[in-house]
Symmetry: D2
Subunit: 377 residues, 4 copies
Amino acid sequence: MERIRLGMVGGGEGAFIGGVHRIASRIDGRFDLVAGAFSSTPERSRASGEALGVDPKRTYDDFAAMAKREARLKDGIEAVSIVTPNHVHYAAAREFLKRGIHVICDKPLTSTLADARKLVALAEKSDAIFILTHNYTGYPMVRQAREMVAAGEIGVIRVVQVEYPQDWLAEDLESTGQKQAGWRTDPEQSGAGGSTGDIGTHAYNLAGFVTGLRCEALSADLDSFVSGRRLDDNAHVMLRYENGAKGMLWCSQVAPGNENGLRLRVYGEKGGLEWKQEDPNYLWQAPLGEPKRLLTRNGAGATEGNLAGSRIPAGHPEGYLEGFANIYADAAEMILAAREGETAETLAPTVHDGLDGMRFVDACVRSSKKDAGWVTL
Amino acid sequence: MERIRLGMVGGGEGAFIGGVHRIASRIDGRFDLVAGAFSSTPERSRASGEALGVDPKRTYDDFAAMAKREARLKDGIEAVSIVTPNHVHYAAAREFLKRGIHVICDKPLTSTLADARKLVALAEKSDAIFILTHNYTGYPMVRQAREMVAAGEIGVIRVVQVEYPQDWLAEDLESTGQKQAGWRTDPEQSGAGGSTGDIGTHAYNLAGFVTGLRCEALSADLDSFVSGRRLDDNAHVMLRYENGAKGMLWCSQVAPGNENGLRLRVYGEKGGLEWKQEDPNYLWQAPLGEPKRLLTRNGAGATEGNLAGSRIPAGHPEGYLEGFANIYADAAEMILAAREGETAETLAPTVHDGLDGMRFVDACVRSSKKDAGWVTL
Amino acid sequence: MERIRLGMVGGGEGAFIGGVHRIASRIDGRFDLVAGAFSSTPERSRASGEALGVDPKRTYDDFAAMAKREARLKDGIEAVSIVTPNHVHYAAAREFLKRGIHVICDKPLTSTLADARKLVALAEKSDAIFILTHNYTGYPMVRQAREMVAAGEIGVIRVVQVEYPQDWLAEDLESTGQKQAGWRTDPEQSGAGGSTGDIGTHAYNLAGFVTGLRCEALSADLDSFVSGRRLDDNAHVMLRYENGAKGMLWCSQVAPGNENGLRLRVYGEKGGLEWKQEDPNYLWQAPLGEPKRLLTRNGAGATEGNLAGSRIPAGHPEGYLEGFANIYADAAEMILAAREGETAETLAPTVHDGLDGMRFVDACVRSSKKDAGWVTL
Amino acid sequence: MERIRLGMVGGGEGAFIGGVHRIASRIDGRFDLVAGAFSSTPERSRASGEALGVDPKRTYDDFAAMAKREARLKDGIEAVSIVTPNHVHYAAAREFLKRGIHVICDKPLTSTLADARKLVALAEKSDAIFILTHNYTGYPMVRQAREMVAAGEIGVIRVVQVEYPQDWLAEDLESTGQKQAGWRTDPEQSGAGGSTGDIGTHAYNLAGFVTGLRCEALSADLDSFVSGRRLDDNAHVMLRYENGAKGMLWCSQVAPGNENGLRLRVYGEKGGLEWKQEDPNYLWQAPLGEPKRLLTRNGAGATEGNLAGSRIPAGHPEGYLEGFANIYADAAEMILAAREGETAETLAPTVHDGLDGMRFVDACVRSSKKDAGWVTL
């Protein structure tokens, strides 16, 4: 089993997603975290590096220095995980991409649509691989859903219902100094979208991943229900897809009782599919006119993507971290192929998915400003 | 136990909702069905009357004759259930209201907004009671939800999510001669709304009943996915309520796997509530920052409306027919009070609720015609 | 629609099951309650009769007088519902059976096995029909389960898991004067079984109804967890069926969080079935090696018994009262046939099912007394 | 972050649990797999070692050689995971324990009760730590359940219901050459218990872990439903606990539709708890007389053990591998403390839990042989 040398930008103390990336990178044993610029505060970066067992010489004060030096090292990192607040993604990714270091970047792609476009151009020019961790596409049952749609099992799609409600921002948490709430509600760090950027992009991406449909236009009604909040914390969005299919998307951070209620329902002429992130080992299939079937991870009727994304038998639940690890497994496959000068096709989200997500956020904001008028993406 | 003499307009062979009204009227033993104009086809009316054990002399060929004669009989009907296709509601109700016979009318109120307005005027002028069977408001847990909202248990409402998906019209059933599909997809009989009129009004009414909020404006994207269908079979609607609350409403008759998936979720500053029609004996309460609680019909924590609407102990499920019967129980209470010259306050939906539903349908159609622009109700 | 004249023994104020029988008898409009001995206290009987709108002349102080007089009346009752505490069933049923009046009796059959045997003999001698309201067998999905087993859809049965947990007797409710708790925990009125008689018999009967298997032996460990309680409030039972199938039965009145948690699971060589009383419109089918399917009342894949037992479309839940009403519908069918000198075959439970239930209770008590040794039924 | 050098016995190609242990050891990044005797077939051991990136010099043909050499190496393994079929556990554990190498052993403890007793003696004599991977006790909600019981939240326990149904052995899989089925149904490799040993021990252990109660006696009815099977594939067991509490345990490998349906319900005087392995992020709490509450992993109301065992926020499901990793986290904590000459108290299952499990299997077999008579453990 060949291993890949990995670096990380961001993910120091108090971070959430950095720890997730680290676990995801470890689950299949294909990555070694050997370098990092874990914080923009040098002391915190070093403390985090030490806690993580990273060689102090390879714990950097800033990502630019890291990219520069690691690119020269004989055993420098081959890939980097970028897990900072959104506004840093672009600048950080640029440093690594231009040096041919593969990038695994958290979503949304950037904090501005302009940055997103520039990043796409950089990624296209670079020999390095760019992967965006829209991790929900790594769940085995989501991959099965995509495959079933592609195989025509539900027929031509008519209706898409997707939602991602949470409740953690139902109160003014950002004023309490909570770090996650702080940057996620700050336009400087997050970009123009609040809930739309943080979780709406996931919902939007998931719908596109499963249906294979391109969204052409949307109408969005955004709110900031918590007094003083500077970004949206609830969004109601109507979607129009390329083939005449219609969709609704709801994302919210102020819906009490919802932890991470991402849910997708897709209805076609011949059947329906339903999947929930909080119970991810199951997929409901409803063939029109027949009883509903409950498909399971690694269970009877599993498709190739379900099987490939499963590590353990049906009935032993795999969760969020394993789904996330499937994106890392895709990354590993692509990186190892690249070592040999080859290209591996995987389902890992790309920089183009990232740009599409930024277009979604931008369109939501534009639409909402003109009273939820339709805007094209 | 005093009993009420009841007549029926519509509800002959092949009908669905007429049978429901009859069972609902029987459950608590307060009504006797003694007269009817069960079909616009005289032979079918008589056959139905005979099958139902109604005296042939009181089985009528048309509702006008029935109203006229029953009003004169010493023991003529005190109330009439109108269970015809929508376009007959107005004319039928008029005949009885003007003679002081109480009307229990199926929804939607009428087939046109103009008729609805006229019917409101008639009902306001009449001494007779007018009740509209938005039967889902009869479920005990729905009444508990309303009481909890009114008591401030979830705080000021921010977000309303309501949906009513079905799948029975996913194919072109109306071309097969199926009676229910026939009239429900026919603008002459149903009115301007398809799914919006048939089930969207229920969803809209339920949201208003529980939240107590008035909807001020909506934006609707309607589709007729089945080729050749003349009325909408799927509707995506964004709602704006009077206090700044926002809502989404989805109704569909083309969503495979959904039988009668009416579901309401309401989120306020202090908590959330969730209820599903297909599992109606439960209500989820999510107080912000606390574990979710599962409230049950007639169970621990039951409110007055829950207890009053329950006939049997918790854990023995009551269903659709019992919820419907609660509207009839309200009707009985109001009618018996009226006998004494008094007025009983109940939760039964009124002609004004009916008008509001017709405004909803009208607004959906108008909005959709102008590319889902906002329209006021 | 021909109607049947019905009387009732028991079911006065404070009763639970009497009201259930009355609603069940009304739902399909085939019975008229025209006579009753509603209480052993004459005043209460009369007050109940008045509240129910029964002619005072046909409201009796005791069931013997009622049987005697009604049998002579030209339009006397054709059938009687016996809804008293258990110890009265035998004597009451005897009076009506010997006069050719059909009996619809609540379960368990009697309070003693000896009485049960005598009642079987009486019923066999009588021309009258005897029906026992093991009402859970009236649920449409239970009937579908029975038909699927009989059709071999799950193959030869290996394992039966049935349970009926409640929590209403988790504390010493009988000492508070609560009427239901009082007689149900009193051996004089209930018989030798507490939870075993009250709900264990339902579970036992349900398992037999669905599987079609006869139980040959059992081993039971009974407890009275509440201090001072005179009858069992929790029972753990292992079952051995005629074909080598094995079962477990748990019934409890002291399991907090359980309202009426009757649940049956049956596993054969080719598949499994699962049904829950609290969510009765669904039946899980698990064909070995295939995804599980969720069958619904009146939905896709419905069998004859499911369809026949359904009144309204799928997705509009029917509940406990409708299941109970299906037993009354069976009774009506049998009684109307008997009027014509014919016999109608229905699925309604019989006096033999009642005797089998009494054998079950007796066996549980005997086994528990010999330290849960095996006893034959 | 200090890391621990880990070896492995068993877990070569075609194994299931070996891969699980490896992932579990990687999730928190505290273990490095540096040595192994992965198979009793030398070629397969070497191939597995190579595939796993283990130094060929430290890939051994047998565990005895491995124990001997690793104990001498300066940077030899500090701990070993034993993931072989049951009959190898004892001999393998002995080699490592006697050399002071910590043992993380899969369950059941051994294949015979005699071996189990000897292993307890060895473990007690050894300075090394011995941990048994009853991994279900690692789930955060299971730890919360234990803490809630210990805190008296459900009062004195009366009833325990635990079950572990599967369906993977519903047919004669062992005759097809399937490796897992082969050894698990072979008394030489598994021991006297089939389903009782493989999954019954998990159920039994889980009940004891949560309730803190010792089981004093049991009555078991074992079956081998699949023709020719040499070990039980279904077991019905009644349990008697030390304080008068009673239990039922069902384990089965022939129950179609069940993947890994481990479920525990515990009922006390003041409340009930329910947990399911297939939906492990939730725990139902039913305080007597109050609505049920749904507690979540890392969510509102989380206890210390829940929080400590959680890596990511509520609503992002953690699964089987994370629960398993919690046992490895306990192991790491104990091993790192041992490095300093100290002792860390954790919830990790011990050799005594293993012996208790073997006593359970032995008692089941003994009881079943005497027609399910009671036997003490």
